[in-house]
Symmetry: C2
Subunit: 164 residues, 2 copies
DNA sequence: GCCAATTGCTTGAAGTTTAAAGAAATTGCA
DNA sequence: TGCAATTTCTTTAAACTTCAAGCAATTGGC
């Protein structure tokens, strides 16, 4: 243990162990919950998590969204979205139509069926998540929200600095 | 807004919106950081995140680990680990040897080169993570650690209940 | 000892993901 | 206008991932 002149524990200048442990814990939590959601989606609705996530993005809007929008919001690559959308159009959940002003752009929407199916899944999903966080008090949740918002801001700042 | 008899805002019995928002925020944070780490690993060391993660598990022990151990610790499927290990043995980072008491079991270790390479990457990685969380105070970090531990426990309870 | 159940790992199919390269269309600026 | 840069989307190859099925070895009753 290293002590400073006032006999208080201090960190070594290059010890970033606490941040690393925080990251590992964050990752563990997310992986755990994600795995749980994935299992349940497959089990109850025979749908994959990426498809659910994509539909969730589309359900937020009424009039559709471009592939680029989807890719940004989902934080995955363009090519990835191309494939996902393709399969979901194939299965009748989505609908695509080319923009009239820019022929590169495709507007993607949920079909009637797609939206209905998604809403059913989303209702269940919300209950699962509530149960997953069931041991947390409202205050815990507020605090977590606040701290994660701060963490998100910090991470964005860090990422931005690297790409500058 | 719904108010109870003492004029205090209350939630609808089935509104689990706060938990859902918490989950989305947790997911966003993790995805953001994971993407950042992935990019940097590729850029600076030309290594993928899954390989780094696997080596990180092995670096914690001196004498090796079985595939099952790896799969449990990494929270991924068995088949996944089989493939990752295969490629890392191929590239000379890992070493495998069959147990003498149970011929189903394979002990996996980092090779000398593998460990040296990993240590170099890990040192950088730790700095990146410290920067990612750079805006958080020590108190923020402690609080996040505590709340995430609670969330993890809650999620485990929930998962366990489902599989019971 | 026998054999059913379990455990450790591999395989194969389907799907997801990234990175990189490329095609098509639009934009902006000289 | 002309054309270089940018944007949108697709394509490709390689890797990653899960799930389910299967094989080989071990374990635990009996």
């Amino acid at each position: 243990m290293i002590l400073d002149s006032e006999t208080k524990a201090v960190e070594l200048p290059d010890d970033h162990g606490t941040e690393l442990r925080l990251w590992l814990r964050l990752l563990t939590c997310t992986t755990l919950i994600e795995g749980e959601v994935r299992s349940r989606l497959r089990e109850k609705f025979d749908v994959t998590l990426p498809r659910f996530d994509l539909m969730a993005q589309l359900d937020k809007v009424s009039d559709g969204m471009t592939l680029s929008d989807l890719s940004k919001r989902m934080m995955v690559s363009n090519g990835n979205v191309t494939g996902l959308v393709e399969r979901l159009v194939e299965s009748g959940h989505l609908d695509r139509r080319t923009s009239e002003t820019d022929r590169r752009v495709q507007f993607i929407r949920l079909t009637k069926t797609g939206r209905a199916e998604f809403r059913k899944m989303a209702a269940e999903h919300e209950k699962w998540i509530a149960d997953v966080f069931g041991d947390l008090s409202p205050k815990d949740i507020r605090e977590l929200m606040r701290l994660l918002a701060k963490a998100k801001g910090s991470a964005q700042r860090s990422a931005k600095a690297r790409n500058a």
